[in-house]
Symmetry: C2
Subunit: 192 residues, 2 copies
């Protein structure tokens, strides 16, 4: 089994997921997100719409919304961004927002302050079930992924997420992408 487990890398810039209720407050009654471009995961898209977010120390004027609407609003930032906002955002898996800092979010039609939801996303790989089976990888397994080049490094604790709804893609944030000198479209290799 000398099958090389090569994984496309996607570097995620800061972005926000919004609940239906918050889309209504921020963009107005009846407003819906419109698609700017599709993302690697089926059904997910970058919206044309952006919001401003304001932390205790700093702000970002234009944060891209990723759709469709989610059950809970969640802002995903790099650790660099979290320092700029003045927030101690923990490294978390998407959706696990208990005990995380809140943030003030401002849209064209209104604003909302959430009590929680700011995270640094834990590095992870989306596997389609068939990829995971072929490579013997289980959901939630922690993997090591090497990226080469002059800033080559090995990411540890990369969480495997397996679903028939996923497309093969490794998600890291801009700090991780810049530390490794990689951009979206580059490749990593699962080494363990």
């Amino acid at each position: 089994m000398s099958d090389i487990k090569q994984i496309p890398v996607g570097v995620s810039a800061r972005h926000i997921h919004l609940s239906k209720e918050h889309i209504r407050i921020l963009f107005g009654e009846g407003a819906e997100l419109s698609e700017l471009k599709p993302l690697s995961q089926p059904g997910q898209f970058a919206a044309n719409e952006t919001v401003a977010v304001h932390g205790p120390k700093g702000s970002f004027a234009k944060v891209r919304i990723l759709g469709p609407a989610r059950k809970a609003t969640q802002l995903e930032v790099s650790r660099t961004d979290a320092f700029a906002l003045g927030l101690k955002a923990p490294v978390r898996e998407s959706g696990n927002i208990e005990g995380t800092p809140g943030i003030r979010i401002v849209g064209p039609a209104g604003e909302v302050t959430v009590e929680k939801g700011v995270i640094v996303a834990a590095r992870h790989i989306h596997f389609h079930t068939s990829d995971a089976e072929r490579w013997g990888i289980a959901d939630k397994q922690l993997l090591k992924v090497r990226v080469g080049g002059e800033r080559g490094l090995v990411f540890e604790n990369v969480i495997a997420r397996v679903s028939p709804d996923f497309a093969l893609d490794m998600h890291i944030d801009t700090d991780e992408g810049n530390a490794a000198g990689v951009s979206t479209g580059d490749f990593g290799e699962i080494i363990e």
Copy 2:
């Protein structure tokens, strides 16, 4: 030889080294840098003085100067910072600035535009000669260094720099520190 090669980590924020001539232009005739605090390397210090730097896309209002004066002016930024400035800064060893982008630097007494000198510093370890001898490490050797924790990773291509004037310290930038979840005062381990 099961000696664990533990290395203190120093995370370098963006900073600038200035030539004597540029200190004169930026701070005025006869001006000298004053010490805010010493750095890990003997004789090096963070100065009280700062400058503004202006790139084609963005600026930083307060960039810390590290002293003493150097032969050539050099701005060291993270890849995140380079994108914000709008510059394609290459990964380089300190002092190797041929073919790198320039930058406009503004001080209280004047300004200067350098034609080159903006780099992303290559990750490296300063070894006192005695540390290098004890561990069998040669100047310019490329090492692998592991840092643990939830964002654990292994940095490859870490350049060894050996001198009787150095104190043991690994230097990475803020992207690398944030990607690994480490701060100055944490430790890494040379694994290869």
